[in-house]
């Protein structure tokens, strides 16, 4: 009998052995302050489940092949990319796990995130914080830049690591439109003069929401009055004007504004099919990729607005209950590396602007960045940056989205 039990235990141990080859690193506090070599050796042989928006083939390919390749070859870590249509889905998973008491075996190891979802993660105590100093490549990040140290007005406080920068840009087809409208008031007039040829995705779609914020800034007479904490009186005043402008515009929109596209992909489809003549995206490089993939006509040209467009930084975050925190930290460190940021900036890979301070990288990487040839049809990042507008705090954004649904979208 005893022998049988022993044999049974041995069998169990043998079955479990391959799983236990890498350490469970759910206890994040024990990782903070450890030497980087120790973190790397703890992560070795493990895997990491990265949840991120999966709506772009190029981004997916960069993540799976380039980043996944580095993790596999250099660190023996398996990267599982989990595609989402909306980042909040991953936040919901972590939240549900916390509710049901899954505190150290969560299924999400990392999320591509920013803005309102980051605020939710902080609000619910769902983020692993305070470890960023442990990453060697953290020194490439300019944390003194307020646009990096604050995510949509919410202080980052070591709870996430920047990945890319993006700035909103418009695009039009030079074959269809001679001179596109170059400011919010011009867009409104242009849309009225060309009925049915303009629309925007209904908030809370990320990009639709950003467009509405541009109109909100315009109605406020500039963003400067809106920075800082949410102010109900100020909101009420500006919101009333904004809804008036948008409701006045509505009959001139696509389908007379009786319905709005549900997502940015739907708007891009409408543009590609010539149903509407203008499109826009928070990721200006998308124009180049869409042209190369044959989705947009090659005569599409991206551009910024004279009164400025909104820019932001996006990040990666590790949930508090991730059992693979060491592997997720290795992944974040790889993402921050000059090589990975350069690869991401290549126009035929993604064309995303680097979130690191390139002047802090090696001469070799700096030279590579200097030699980048941006796609000719993409609005140049330097050009856009000349008129960059900040994001509002997340509480403003929720209020504007809700207000739009109640006053315009019905």
């Amino acid at each position: 009998m005893k022998n049988q039990i022993n044999a049974g235990l041995l069998a169990c141990a043998l079955v479990l052995a391959p799983i236990a080859a890498h350490a469970d690193t759910a206890d994040g506090s024990s990782l903070i302050g450890k030497s980087w070599d120790e973190v790397v050796s703890l992560a070795k042989g493990g895997e990491v489940n990265w949840f991120l928006w999966g709506g772009s083939d190029n981004i997916n390919q960069y993540v799976t092949e380039f980043i996944g390749g580095i993790l596999k070859d250099d660190f023996d870590i398996k990267l599982n990319r989990v595609g989402l249509s909306d980042t909040v889905e991953a936040v919901n998973i972590v939240l549900g796990e916390k509710e049901s008491g899954v505190l150290d075996k969560g299924s999400v190891d990392m999320i591509w995130i920013n803005g309102e979802n980051f605020r939710t993660m902080k609000q619910g105590g769902l983020a692993f914080c305070g470890y960023t100093e442990t990453l060697p490549n953290n020194k490439l990040v300019d944390w003194s830049n307020p646009a990096i140290a604050n995510d949509f007005g919410v202080p980052v406080e070591g709870c996430e690591v920047p990945w890319s920068k993006a700035q909103f840009a418009f695009a039009y087809d030079t074959a269809r439109t001679n001179s596109p409208p170059k400011s919010i008031p011009e867009i409104i007039d242009w849309a009225k003069a060309n009925p049915g040829k303009f629309t925007y995705p209904a908030p809370p779609d990320f990009n639709g929401s950003v467009f509405v914020r541009h109109v909100f800034y315009y109605a406020a007479g500039g963003v400067d009055n809106l920075l800082g904490d949410f102010d109900q009186a100020k909101y009420d005043e500006v919101a009333a004007k904004t809804w008036e402008i948008l409701n006045d515009l509505e009959p001139s929109l696509w389908r007379e504004g009786k319905t709005y596209p549900a997502s940015i992909s739907a708007l891009e489809q409408l543009y590609a099919n010539s149903e509407v003549d203008l499109t826009f995206n928070y990721e200006p490089a998308g124009v180049g990729l869409n042209i190369e993939n044959g989705v947009f006509p090659p005569t599409t040209q991206g551009y910024g607005l004279t009164d400025g467009t909104i820019g932001n930084t996006n990040y990666t975050i590790i949930p508090f209950n991730s059992p693979n925190k060491a592997a997720a930290m290795v992944l974040q460190n790889v993402l921050l590396s000059g090589q990975a940021q350069y690869q991401k900036a290549l126009p035929d890979v993604w064309g995303a602007a680097a979130a690191i301070d390139v002047s802090r990288t090696s001469d070799d990487i700096q030279a590579k960045f200097a030699s980048l040839n941006p796609h000719p049809n993409v609005a140049p990042a330097a050009e856009l940056a000349k008129a960059a507008l900040p994001e509002l705090q997340a509480s403003w954004i929720s209020a504007i989205e809700k207000g739009w649904q109640e006053n315009v979208g019905n």
Binding site: L95, R119, P204, R255, N273, N410
Partner: protein, 285 residues
């Protein structure tokens, strides 16, 4: 071991799955809908989520739209399916092939069907382009709005396309077991073709037809993906509205999403009950 215990034990795995996953989920949803969500500091249960659902105008509009989608799709699908089954039970050349083609789209996922509808019927879709090419309309934007439209034409088209073979196959199987003897007797006693269908065949195939159409009604009332792809942004179908609340970035909107999901479940249970009662009365007379 008694026979009863044996049956019980054999049912345990299935019951566990239903009990844990279904009722467990329902229970957590119910708790959340009562504003009980300790993780974000909501520890005093109340009915505020239900209150805000029932005072929201969009909720009522969404309910009407969802009812319209489910009811219209079910009625049209059932009528066409019974008609098709009446034709398919006859013997004719190539029947096997027609039968196969009739059932073919049972295997095609709803989502694929929805994308197909989008490509064919949208204002930049194939039909709009053909109509413009042949000069029937001046430009593609003059094509009638059949998707993202307030009457949910595109959604209903998709459901009818997908559910006709589903109901049809069940009804056809039903008809084939019944055979044609009863109708022949009715005809020999002087019933017209319509009478022999209405008073003989229809009551016989009724149970099968009813359960198939109830399934279609319940499915179309609670389904998310088709109205999400083909529906207008306002009003949205109830499941789309509930999901929108569920993915609201503000955690405080979660209880509202759960309340709405519970209401959807209750509403479809009530409507299925009424539908069963009413249609039994109508057909059985």
């Amino acid at each position: 071991m008694s026979e009863r215990l044996k049956i019980f034990l054999m049912l345990v795995p299935a019951l566990l799955v239903i009990g844990l996953l279904f009722f467990g989920g329902l229970f957590i949803g119910l708790m959340r809908s009562f504003n009980y969500m300790p993780v974000i500091g909501l520890t005093d249960p109340d009915l505020s989520a239900y209150l805000s659902v029932f005072t929201d105008r969009e909720f009522y509009l969404s309910f009407l739209l969802t009812f319209h989608i489910a009811f219209t799709s079910t009625v049209i699908s059932t009528v066409i399916a019974v008609g098709a089954a009446l034709l398919l039970r006859r013997h004719f050349l190539g029947r096997a092939i027609v039968n196969f083609l009739f059932q073919l789209n049972l295997t095609i996922p709803h989502l694929v069907g929805a994308i197909g509808i989008l490509y064919l019927f949208s204002q930049s879709g194939s039909f709009a382009r053909l109509a413009a090419h042949w000069g029937m309309i001046a430009s593609t934007s003059d094509f009638p709005a059949l998707v993202f439209d307030p009457y949910a034409v595109g959604i209903i088209l998709q459901y009818v396309w997908k559910e006709v073979p589903f109901i049809g196959v069940i009804v056809l199987a039903n008809m084939q077991t019944i055979g044609e003897d009863y109708e022949s007797v009715a005809r020999s006693l002087g019933a017209t073709r319509w009478q022999s269908f209405r008073y003989v065949l229809l009551p016989l195939i009724f149970p099968g037809m009813l359960s198939a159409s109830v399934m279609v009604f319940a499915f179309t009332f609670g389904a998310y993906e088709i109205p999400a792809i083909l529906g207008a942004s306002f009003p949205a179908a109830l499941p789309v509205l509930a999901y929108r609340k569920y993915t609201d970035v503000d955690l405080a909107a979660r209880p509202e999403a759960m309340a709405m999901a519970i209401v959807i479940a209750l509403l479809s249970a009530v409507m299925i009950y009424l539908y069963l009662r009413y249609s039994r009365k109508r057909i059985r007379g």
